[in-house]
Amino acid sequence: MMAKPKPSIQTAPPAIVQVKSVSKTYPGGVEALRDVSLDFRQGQLTTLLGPSGCGKTTLLKIIAGLIPASGGEVIVDGKAVTGPGPERAVVFQDFALMPWATVLRNVAFGLELRGTPRAEREAVAEKYIGEVGLKGFENRYPHELSGGMRQRVGLARALAVQAKVLLMDEPFSAVDEQTRRKFQEDLLQLVAIERKTFIFVTHSIEEAVYVSDRIVLLHPRPGRISSIVEPDIPRDGDPEKIRRNTTYIDTVEAIWQGLKQYLD
């Protein structure tokens, strides 16, 4: 990695995902989101952070096109979202792998659904299996892998469809702490290499501050935006250094103080 000094003032990259006064009320009357407007900039990793009940996963699923919004609209790459689309790919909290399929087929599944010829899609899948560090596991089945490795498969599957926007729903919450740290470091590298837009949902403040260019803090019940934090932490050096960076520590502390009031 090059240790290039960051240009101090930069024109903000264009917004690839625009959320325009989106609200969501579930059947039964639970109001999950109220009038949320938000831009996600191209090539950045933006985190939706908040306590449970703040609607962060709901918002992600609306952007993914998996559930409809009750009001407002989401624009991705210039088009209004009416359902899932090839420019978006999702990484699931519980991995959502097909237990009857090998790693190779799981990773190639998005392309398989699009009708990409077998040889071609498997070549693409192999490339991304290598990229997430699972080379040699192509013909294993999910139940033969650890939780961390399974999520790497989920990540490779989302990368293989070459979407512009990656939506990650608490992707590291089901893996153990050590694996999680390694994942966070790998994710930073991935953001640098892949130049995709990442939308990341987490309830871990440390994780959010560690990986994000931008953190959107959400209020619970009903979900609204409470504030937006852009931690100014150099990410091009040693990944371990970030955890000792004073800005990192201060940002974590500031967010914690802000969120504390919502705890009972």
Binding site: K61, A64, G65, L66, G83, P84, G85, P86, R88, A89, V90, F92, Q93, D94, F95, A96, L97, M98, P99, W100, F109, G110, E112, L113, R114, Y141, P142, H143, R157, V161
Partner: protein, 251 residues
């Protein structure tokens, strides 16, 4: 179980009952119960006969065809019920009703519709087997992790792709146990059908044996059918075990 320090396998109890049967049979207390040894000898006598072969063939045909129809109809229908609330509301009451209904009483109705022949037997098999397959498949589909369904959607799966590549495989353990229970019910169906029509397959054999009071033949045939049903069950249990790892990876 342990007696006097020796481990006694469960199947040992069968030996006790077999000995008891033999003793009762030899006393000649009842004409209905011939000695077990005579029944076993009769089994080996019956099996190579052409009448047994013909009965086995025609029964096997009805059994296989009936099950093929049951699986072909039951699995897609079960998937549909598991995924569509409307279809579920419309059809589930009928499925549960037929599952618990005394189906033997319906065989005469089937006979009126399809006549005295193989078609009636096949339809009886379907009537016995299909409902449990529908119900188990439905349960399997409803048990699919929601994230797997969302995964298929988010990667742009069409309805057909979701059915054939996700729902079917995800529900496979339940589908297989439904098929296993269906096959066992189908054994009942094929025999009850043949007994009621009584001019086909094992039904006609039973009819001949009973009308001439050949109790040894009767028991021998019954034992063979028991053994066949048991073997079918065991094969399916083995198959189910091969997909057991699915269930462990569910949430």
């Amino acid at each position: 179980m342990k007696i006097g320090g020796f481990r006694i396998p469960m199947a040992a109890s069968l030996i006790v009952w077999a000995v008891l049967w033999e003793v009762v049979g030899r006393t000649g207390a009842s004409l209905i119960i011939p000695p077990l040894s005579a029944i076993l000898a009769r089994m080996f006598e019956i099996v190579p006969t052409p009448s047994f072969g013909a009965a086995l063939l025609i029964t096997g045909k009805a059994f296989l065809l009936g099950n093929a129809i049951s699986i072909g109809v039951g699995v897609p229908l079960g998937i549909l019920l598991g995924r569509s609330t409307i279809a579920d509301r419309m059809i589930l009451p009928w499925v549960t009703m037929f599952l618990s209904a005394p189906l033997s009483a319906l065989v005469p109705v089937i006979m009126v519709i399809f006549g005295l022949g193989q078609t009636t037997i096949v339809m009886t098999v379907v009537m016995f087997a299909v409902w449990i397959i529908v119900l188990d498949t439905r349960a399997g589909v409803q048990g699919i992790a929601p994230s797997l369904v969302e995964m298929a959607q988010s990667f742009g799966a069409s309805r057909w792709q979701a059915f054939t590549r996700i729902y079917f495989f995800a529900a496979l353990p339940e589908i297989l146990s439904g098929i296993r229970l269906g096959l066992i019910r189908a054994v009942k169906g094929v025999i009850i059908g043949q007994l009621l029509v009584s001019i086909v397959g094992f039904g006609s054999l039973f009819e001949i044996y009973l009308s001439r009071f050949l109790m040894e033949h009767f028991w021998a045939l019954l034992f063979i059918l028991f053994a066949l049903a048991f073997a079918i069950n065991e094969i399916l249990v083995w198959l189910e075990r091969k997909v057991e790892y699915y269930a462990s990876s569910r949430h």
